[in-house]
Symmetry: C2
Subunit: 345 residues, 2 copies
């Protein structure tokens, strides 16, 4: 399996995040992707390619034009007001507050960004622009006949919705890749999200559509981030009814307890859909030692995931999502990819 | 004019707030109320009384039962999970996210609290309980025939809505006082909010009602906090249509430029309503040296506000709201109250 990767991700490094009642160093950091690429090299997974340039057009196919323009211009607007420190919101238009875009940059941040862990930094736009290039280039490899490809994007993207960003995610690289495949003429794309957290952004983007199936297994959002999406009763709307499948897992789930069974159900849902292409939102924050996650997969379980996914028997694009035990993120990701490559259908 | 005050406020002192991109010491602090009471004493405004105990029943007349119970129990729930540090949310159910109350305390915080500056501290519940006592006791003084009274509550309350809290505010003492007057048989209560920030919570609570008029002059929310409420087109709904009057002021407004004219219009709206009682949400963060505000009233303008309010010629309850230039908050507040007392109708 070949990998697409750009060093361009490294210019985005958030100064911190408000989490657990304190402003702490950001869990999401450049070293995550470095370790993934090191692991890819170490096992000789395949070629590592630079992406082609694609501009922001693929992003505006799944995000609103005004959100993409906001991400492009927010840093300059913020620096003019506040100076060169990371741009965090301070209030959010939740509950009875009104869904209106203010003029001021402090207000705009809360309008577009739903958490206190996803700041706009000096490097955010160049970083996520590189991510779009990586996603589309890897999608093209699969469109052009590769059995599989790996888009080593950073930061993750699956929390970014049509016009909202959160959870370290700014643009939804997985959704951008899926839409690119649809735009290239594919009729059906399935996204299987195995990140610890629910992919609320991917769900948001495809919620009313029947051409992109979204299946997610994740820690129960009644208990963990993102809390406000990912529940089992969210099944799609309109034409998309039935094409959104959420499988919340109890905290403490292991391969033997809940995980393998849910993965099987997710794989069956994908098979029933019979997609032209499968995209896997590959987060490894399900790891037992992840500092954020509370699902307890062991090292050897990642190869099992890779093998199981091969059984779907479709051209497959892997997209890097979360995983915050930095020293292990590379080996766990590569274990999935190696096992996928090695498995026979 | 007599004042109601409880030292009970002082047990709430937030460790900080996420503002302007940084986690900074909280602008809202106990010294604000101490300085107000010192100023009341210094000018001999009148008697300073301890409040009667009223429990949480008056709060549940304007806030949902479950939010009041959350405020009462959140600290213990948080400490059990995170230890004795202030409880801040990390994600908010804004925009396309779902309005669902999670089980977990981190999620519940984001569900009820809309910003990153209004943490639950060890002292929050006893502090705001004392505030309810102060508000109701002062309301009773006016109900019992006093021409005026001053409720020296802290923290402010006007950002707290039916089931949402933010902006340093947890319970809406002004709304609690207004509702207490209605419950005591008054037919019409007017609230005039002169705090720098829009009183989105008070608006939220009375938005569909014609027995409580809400009139607010404040900095334009397209430019400043709370951003997502306080716009001129928010005029009430249902029976409340026409009973909500927002007058956003441009940043940099002075007494001569915009302020006096808006205050006159607000006063005319109150006079047209002809209330039984007037409640003034008295914030002095309109002061030219306020560290948060960007409206430029001078010291002498506060006496002008007091004189102008006397012209309404109704029994009047003053409620302390914002004002963050700590050394001046007392004198500016007392200038309003003294001038009100001294003015002739």
């Amino acid at each position: 399996m070949d990998t697409v990767y750009s060093e361009g991700h490294a210019v985005h490094h958030a100064s911190g995040e408000l989490i657990s009642g304190e402003f702490k160093p950001a869990f999401e950091m450049p070293q995550r992707a470095y370790n993934v690429i090191d692991a890819v090299r170490e096992v000789g997974l395949g070629e590592i390619r630079e992406p082609e340039k694609h501009g922001s057009a693929p992003a505006t196919r799944v995000h609103t034009e005004r959100m993409v323009r906001f991400l492009e211009t927010a840093w300059d607007e913020w620096v003019a007001k506040r100076g060169e420190i990371d741009a965090f919101p301070l209030i959010w238009p939740s509950r009875s507050l009104r869904d209106i875009e203010p003029n001021d940059i402090d207000g705009k941040l809360g309008f577009y960004c739903a958490d206190a862990g996803t700041p706009i930094t000096a490097g955010t736009w160049p970083c996520v622009s590189a991510g779009v290039d990586v996603a589309v280039t890897a999608a093209d490899m699969v469109l052009n006949g590769a059995d599989s490809a790996f888009a080593a994007t950073r930061p993750p993207g699956h929390h970014a919705g049509k016009e909202i960003f959160l959870g370290y995610c700014y643009l939804n690289f997985t959704a951008i890749a899926a839409q690119h495949m649809i735009d290239a003429g594919k009729k059906k794309v399935a996204i299987l999200d195995v990140d610890y957290h629910h992919g609320n952004g991917t769900q948001d983007i495809f919620y009313d559509r029947d051409d992109v199936l979204f299946v997610s297994l994740h820690a129960d959002p009644m208990e963990v981030f993102p809390f406000f999406a990912g529940h089992a009763d969210e099944t799609g709307t309109g034409a998309g009814e039935g094409y959104n499948v959420n499988m919340p897992l109890p905290l403490g789930a292991t391969w033997e307890s809940h995980y393998a069974e849910a993965l099987d159900r997710g794989i069956e849902a994908v098979k029933d859909f019979d997609p032209d292409i499968l995209i896997v939102s590959l987060g490894v924050d399900t790891y037992e030692h992840d500092p954020i996650g509370q699902i307890c997969l062991k090292r050897e379980d990642y190869a099992r995931i890779g093998e199981a996914l091969k059984g779907i028997n479709k051209p497959t694009l892997f997209m890097l999502e979360g995983g915050y035990m930095v020293d292990h993120v590379g080996v766990n990701v590569v274990d999935v990819l190696k096992a996928f490559d090695a498995a026979t259908v």
